[in-house]
Structures are given as C-alpha cells and as structure tokens.
C-alpha cells in the first residue's frame, strides 16, 4: 500500500524496537536522513530502552571477553563513511593495462558464461558468512540476514576477495570485501553494475574489509565490477576491473 509513505514517521517506535522488516528498515533509515524529528525521537527511544536493558544486566563469562579480544586482534576499525576524508595509505596498485574504457567490463560480461560455472552460489544458511563478515556495515547486515539472501564470491586480481549478497525480497544488493589492497591515494574503488551493453555506477567500497549496499540495481545486470577511479568517482569506468562477480540468472 502506498499510504505507508504518508505516515512513515510512525515507524520510529518500531524502528527503535527493531521490529521492521529489512526493506522497511532501509526505507526508514533513508527517511531519518531527512527528518530531524524522527532522529530526535529515535535517539530518545534508544536512551529509554537502554535504561530498561540495564535493569536486567548480567555479567558474561570471562572467557567470552578473551574470545572477543582475540576476534579483533587482526581487525582494524573501518574508516568513517565520509568519502572526502584524506587517504592515509599510499600503496600503489599495479597499473592495469590501459584499454578502452567500458570495453573491459563489457568483455567481463561476455565471458560470464564461463565465470558463472565457477561461481559459488548457495541459498540461505548464512550463519558462517554472517559471522565471517561481521565487519560489514549495519545496512549490509540487513541484506545479509534477509531470509532469501543469496551469495556469490570471487577473488580480486590484486588480492583479497569480494562477496556479493542479494536479497530479492528487499531488491537490494550488497558488496562485502575482504582483504582488498588499500585504496591508493587520490583514488577510490568504484563499483559498477554491468548489464548487457551498459555499465552503470553502483557505489563505492573501501579497501580492506568493508561493506556497502549498492545503488540502482538494473534488471539486466549480469555482473558487478570494481575499478580504481579518481577520487569522487567517474561516470564510466576508466580502468580494468580488478574484481568481477557474476550475477546468475534468477
């Protein structure tokens, strides 16, 4: 129903209680960006719930602390979401062969028949992936934990790997990366949806371990590709993809 939009403000309570479905939650989070009243309300609701929670506090076993600390030893906190923060790492990627623009990704799309066969697809039972990818952003977690989430993984030519998660019910596609080389100074990693004959921007992803929900998923997309682009991104890719993940037919 479309009257959902008319009273989206009333979702603040359900949102604070985590009672929204993943799609609704994402929609309300977009609303929050624009609605100060709901932001204030959600903040105060969270504080009220914290008080209730504290009343049932219980000390977890000591070994859990050790295991949590062991879990973060190799993990560096993700950088803030803002993309205009200065890159502090200077590790040059191998300069890829300069080939004509979109052609590279179009080629990637063309050879997908082969790639598809080698792509590991499976349905649900996400526990292990979810815990491995717990570093991913919260909005990515929404896609990851959708009951109908499906996963595809591919290795990047420059090291590390990417995992694409899509949830048909929410219409969302997330990309989670693991061990990618740091983004070179002055550059950004830009993600693309590769369709039959078109390549459209899909967002950005950080180096290392990161996650992002992609934007503008076209119906005819057959793959996503990631390229190194000048900071701020490009309207069309200007280098070869170093990571390509095939989207199988539904």
């Amino acid at each position: 129903m479309n009257d959902e939009n008319a009273d989206i403000h009333t979702l603040s309570g359900a949102y604070a209680l985590d009672a929204l479905e993943p799609g609704e939650r994402a929609a309300f989070e977009r609303h929050l960006e624009a609605c100060e009243q709901c932001r204030d309300e959600v903040r105060s609701f969270g504080d009220a719930l914290s008080v209730v929670v504290d009343e049932s506090a219980q000390e977890p076993p000591e070994r859990l602390r050790d295991s949590v600390l062991a879990g973060i030893t190799a993990v560096r906190p993700l950088p803030p979401v803002t993309h205009d923060s200065p890159d502090d790492v200077v590790v040059a990627l191998r300069p890829g062969r300069r080939r004509a623009v979109t052609a590279a990704l179009a080629v990637a799309a063309a050879v997908l028949g082969v790639a598809l066969a080698g792509t590991a697809w499976r349905t649900v039972t996400l526990q292990d992936e979810v815990s491995r990818l717990s570093a991913a952003a919260a909005d990515v977690t929404t896609v990851l934990t959708a009951p109908d989430a499906r996963i595809a993984t591919a290795t990047a030519t420059t090291g590390g790997r990417g995992t694409m998660v899509m949830s048909p019910s929410s219409g969302q596609v997330a990309l989670v990366t693991d061990g990618l080389a740091p983004v070179p100074a002055g550059k950004t990693y830009q993600v693309w949806f590769v369709g039959r004959g078109s390549v459209v921007p899909a967002g950005f992803v950080d180096g290392g371990t990161a996650g992002t929900v992609l934007t503008g998923h076209p119906d005819d997309a057959v793959a996503i590709g990631v390229t190194v682009e000048p900071r701020g991104g490009s309207p069309a890719p200007t280098s070869d993809p170093f990571l390509t993940i095939a989207i199988p037919a539904a």
Binding site: T10, L11, D18, A19, R43, Q58, I72, T141
Partner: protein, 197 residues
C-alpha cells in the same frame, strides 16, 4: 548484583572521566585499551539483553561476540550527534540477537506453526516483564504506567524479536495499529522514565 556488576578484570586502567562516547571514538583510532574498557562497562547490559531475546546462553554469547566485533570494526562510523554510545552499542547487540531469532523462526516454520508457540506466551507476557524487573522500581513503575496492550507490544517486538508484521498477525490487529501502538508505548515509557529520574 546483576545491576551493579563488579569489574572482573581490575588490571585495566579505568579513567573515570572517559565517557562511553570518548571510548568509542578512541576505538575508531585503533585503541584496544578503550575497547576493553568499553566491553567491561557495557557487556553486562548487552549480555542481559541478548539472553532475554535468545533465551539460550550459547546463542547469547555468540551474538555478543559477533556484536562486539562489529562494534570494534564500525566504531569509526559512530556519530555522537545521533545516539549515545550505550544506545548505539545496544542497538547492534539487539539486531544481532533478533537476526538470529528470525533466522531460526524461518528455519522452524516448516516444523512448527507460529501460533502455537505464542498463544502460550501471550497470557503471561505482562506478568513476566514486571516480574523480571521486580527489584527495579524505576523501570517497574515506568512499565506499569503503560497499558497492558502497550506492554505487550514492547515485549513481543523488543524481547521476542517479532517484526511489526508478525505482531499484527499474532494479535490479529491491523498493521497500522501495531505501528502506532509501538510508538505510543515507547513514548510513554520514555516519558515515565524521564519523570522518575
């Protein structure tokens, strides 16, 4: 005892002046000491919450571990203008716990019908909430100021991990009613807690 957990690892320094917000921002700089401190302060509340939702120690511990690893890696994305550190952390913990509950619901659905499980839960929901917090006057008083239906909405969503759609189906009331009831309930709770500070 439960509400005043003694620090279990007295070895770590505990600068009393550092707020949880400060600690979280130091985590974002890679300060593991700040993380240890934050864990010590907030894990009892977080664990109690995970236990409440998952009703199983092992599941609750898994959820807590995943949540705190996520808290560490995402600390750079915390924005103190949007929420208190405590609330931000509890939100992550709660989502982990609820995600787990919902996955298991999906897995169980073939075997067990929804209704049977909750029919039994329904009648003592209110009593249970009040009972659990029997020693905690402030919260008990705030909760008891809610209507039974408001308490039920809070309980089903926050502690049992039902979505608003599931709550509507379970109680056989319109979704719109559930939405407003949840918001009214939590507004009332907030108001009561503020009034009794």
């Amino acid at each position: 005892m439960a509400s005043h957990p003694a620090p279990t690892a007295a070895a770590e320094p505990d600068p009393p002046t550092a707020s949880a917000e400060d600690l979280l921002e130091r985590c974002a700089q890679g300060d593991r000491g700040a993380f240890v401190d934050l864990y010590r302060r907030l894990s009892p509340g977080a664990y109690g919450l995970a236990l409440r939702v998952l009703r199983d120690e092992h599941l609750a511990q898994d959820a807590l571990q995943e949540a705190f690893e996520q808290i560490w890696s995402q600390s750079g994305r915390y924005d103190r203008s949007r929420s208190s550190a405590r609330s931000w952390i509890l939100t992550i913990v709660h989502r982990r716990a609820v995600d787990r509950v919902r996955r298991e619901q999906v897995e169980r659905q073939g075997a067990m019908a929804w209704g049977a499980q909750h029919r039994e839960a329904e009648h003592d929901v209110v009593a249970e909430v009040v009972e659990l917090h029997a020693d905690h006057r402030r919260v008990r008083a705030a909760l008891s100021a809610l209507t039974p239906l408001q308490r039920q909405a809070l309980e089903l969503a926050y502690h049992r991990g039902l979505t608003q759609t599931q709550v509507a189906a379970e109680l056989d009331i319109p979704l719109g009613t559930v939405k407003t009831r949840m918001r009214d309930a939590i507004r009332r709770l907030r108001g009561e807690l503020e009034g009794r500070r």
